[in-house]
């Protein structure tokens, strides 16, 4: 691939930036979209990229201490509010991680739905004026996810009907968006203002009220959430189970906070204990005995003194629960199942059966165990009897959007769909211009097949 045709695919999420080159299967880097400042530093630092199987492990050699670090994010509630900060992060990304020359590459950038014109404007400025990309294509994530899934299953219902319902539960919010022939039907998109960030903050609040004050530990609690939280399939039953004491309580598990000396990262104390809930507490009393035998009994009493740890019980499932019932938090918003139903109902009635049958889950917050199960359980009663409900989880919910972008970028008509720098400069002064008009070209991409994998 010559350098002049190189396409950089950038999924600029509120939590993580997924960046790489068009045509590849995995992004070259996944980078937290923030700057952080540890207590020991006066400067804001760039976080290390998160290791993917494909990326080299050289970057992880320098251990970063994220304890009590404060964070600055360029994105608030899903939308870019601080272009200066974003420029900082991007220039770090382009020069030291991806090592590209923007003026010789085109950029495929994801943009959240309903981006305000002023934010779009600042994004264009960033891309063309600050970084000098030769061309830009702005895509929205649901259509990319749809594109990727259709290419994965060329004979499935998804590709035959050319429509799907993409449920994207990310860092900043959760969207249910119907996609029809690679177009997101934006009049039907429904949004819940609740995503991974709010869940982490909620968990922080709960832990700080109940055991240790962790209000400053964004990164640690993120880790707690990712490792210990799960979606409960039957909340009432699980709440009763969580009430039990001692070994009978299958949900109880401890998390050890970093002490800054021997380990700088927190960890789950007994990982096998933490995953006991998967057995669901039905017929596995014997199982519990076995597991509790594995735990070093003598350790139990002294650990409290040497290490800083806290226990979690019902918090583990009450936190992700909020996506299903935001009203419990005091938000005046419907939960995810209802959100899906409303999104479908806003479409043409002919699409309803197909949409219910092709629900795709994507985004980091769908990674909670049992997410799809619970969603199906709650969605089924809301959907007319004669429609089938089928929920597909993506192979890798974090990367689904990026992979769709990579696919689109490798399609032959990609260049034709882009807005070039010259076009931008020509039209930048006339304020009527919107990049969206050029997006019509996406329709051609329907024919893109998986040549590359």
């Amino acid at each position: 691939m010559s350098s002049s045709t190189q396409v950089v695919v950038l999924d600029n999420g509120g939590g993580l930036i997924k960046a790489g080159f068009g045509g590849e299967r995995d992004p070259s880097t996944i980078l937290p979209n923030c700057l952080y400042k540890p207590l020991t530093s006066k400067k804001w630092l760039h976080p290390n990229p998160i290791n993917t199987p494909s990326s080299s492990s050289s970057s992880s050699s320098s251990e970063q201490d994220l304890t009590s670090a404060s964070v600055r994010r360029p994105i608030d509630r899903g939308y870019l509010i601080n272009p200066d900060l974003q420029r900082d992060i991007w220039s770090h990304l382009f020069t030291s991680i991806l090592r590209i020359n923007p003026s010789q590459s085109s950029l495929l950038l994801t943009q959240p739905l309903f981006t305000l014109p002023s934010i779009q404007h600042s994004l264009h400025q960033l891309v063309f004026e600050d970084f000098n990309f030769s061309s830009l294509f702005v895509a929205d994530s649901p259509s990319l996810v749809h594109l990727y899934e259709t290419s994965q299953r060329p004979n499935g219902l998804l590709s035959k009907a050319q429509c799907s319902l993409v449920v994207d539960s990310g860092f900043s919010f959760t969207h249910a968006s119907p996609v029809f022939q690679n177009f997101t039907l934006n009049y039907a998109v429904k949004r819940i203002d609740l995503g991974g960030k709010a869940l982490t903050n909620y968990l922080k609040e709960l832990i700080s009220f109940r055991s240790v004050n962790v209000m400053d530990e964004t990164f640690i609690i993120d880790d707690v959430k990712e490792n210990l939280c799960f979606v409960s399939v039957d909340v009432d039953k699980h709440l009763n189970l969580a009430r039990k004491s001692g070994k009978d309580n299958v949900f109880k598990c401890s998390y050890v906070l970093p002490d800054g000396v021997t380990h700088t990262k927190g960890f789950v104390k007994y990982p096998e204990q933490a995953s006991r809930y998967l057995a669901d507490g039905k017929d596995d009393i014997g199982d519990h005995e076995e597991i509790s035998k594995q735990q070093p009994q003598d350790n139990r009493h002294k650990v409290d003194l040497t290490k800083n740890e806290f226990d979690l019980t019902n918090e583990r499932f009450l936190v992700p629960e909020m996506i299903f019932r935001p009203a419990d938090l005091g938000m005046n918003q419907a939960g995810l199942p209802e959100c899906i139903v409303r999104a479908v109902n806003a479409c043409h009635p002919h699409l309803h059966p197909v949409l219910y049958e092709s629900i795709i889950l994507t985004g980091g917050s769908t990674l909670f165990p049992h997410f799809a199960e619970r969603l199906e359980k709650e969605l089924r009663p809301l959907v007319p009897d004669d429609y089938r409900v089928k929920i597909a989880t993506q192979e890798d919910p974090l990367l689904g959007v990026w992979r769709g972008g990579s696919l689109l970028a490798s399609s032959p008509d990609f260049d034709a769909m882009c807005v070039t720098k010259a076009e931008y400069e020509e039209l930048a002064n006339s304020h009527k211009w919107r990049l969206g008009e050029k997006v019509v070209g996406v329709a051609n991409a329907t024919s893109v097949q998986m040549e590359s994998y």
Binding site: I81, N186, L206, N314, Q333, A334
Partner: protein, 173 residues
């Protein structure tokens, strides 16, 4: 002098902006408890925990401490007021990051014709059933009782005692 004024103006503006968003919510409801609930929801979207502590960090790009800041300001002032053009002021105003809610307010989406899908119209809207489950703030199980002073939920006498001892009146004061 003028420089000074504009600086202090900029300084306070950050704070008043923050306060302003809360005032709007506060004005919308006369009820203390609603205000507390709204403030809490707002806090869930914060990056850093400190409710107001975040602001100084967000305000200046150079992450300078007070001393450096003073020096920086003085140096800036000594350059004379002549160079303070309108453009420079605009630049400075642009530098202060604005929250998404302010941008949203500026976009004036209400003025668009009703058939155009916008950020506001994409929100799911209220749930069909108003039944809200309440969880005990102390232990997390379903809570049947409400604190008469602050409206927070608790489930039992034991939790009530913990609540009264440690966190009651937290928001109302």
């Amino acid at each position: 002098m003028e420089e000074d004024g504009s600086n202090s103006n900029r300084r306070t503006s950050g704070r008043t902006r923050k306060v302003a968003s809360k005032m709007v919510a506060a004005l919308a409801s006369s009820d203390n408890r609603t205000q507390a609930a709204l403030a809490r929801l707002d806090a869930l979207e914060n990056d850093n925990a400190g409710f107001e502590v975040v602001d100084p960090n967000l305000d200046d790009d150079e992450a300078s401490l007070d001393d450096d800041d003073q020096v920086y300001m003085q140096r800036k002032q000594s350059k004379g007021t002549k160079r303070k053009t309108r453009q420079a002021k605009a630049l400075e105003a642009r530098k202060a990051p604005r929250t998404f809610l302010e941008l949203l307010h500026d976009a004036n989406l209400e003025s668009l014709p009703p058939h155009v899908p916008t950020y506001w119209k994409a929100a799911v809207g209220p749930p069909s059933s108003t039944a809200r489950r309440h969880f005990c703030t102390v232990c997390g199980f379903s809570a049947n009782y409400t604190c008469v002073r602050c409206g927070v939920r608790f489930c039992s006498n034991r939790c009530q005692n913990v609540h009264n001892d440690t966190r009651c009146l937290k928001f109302v004061a």
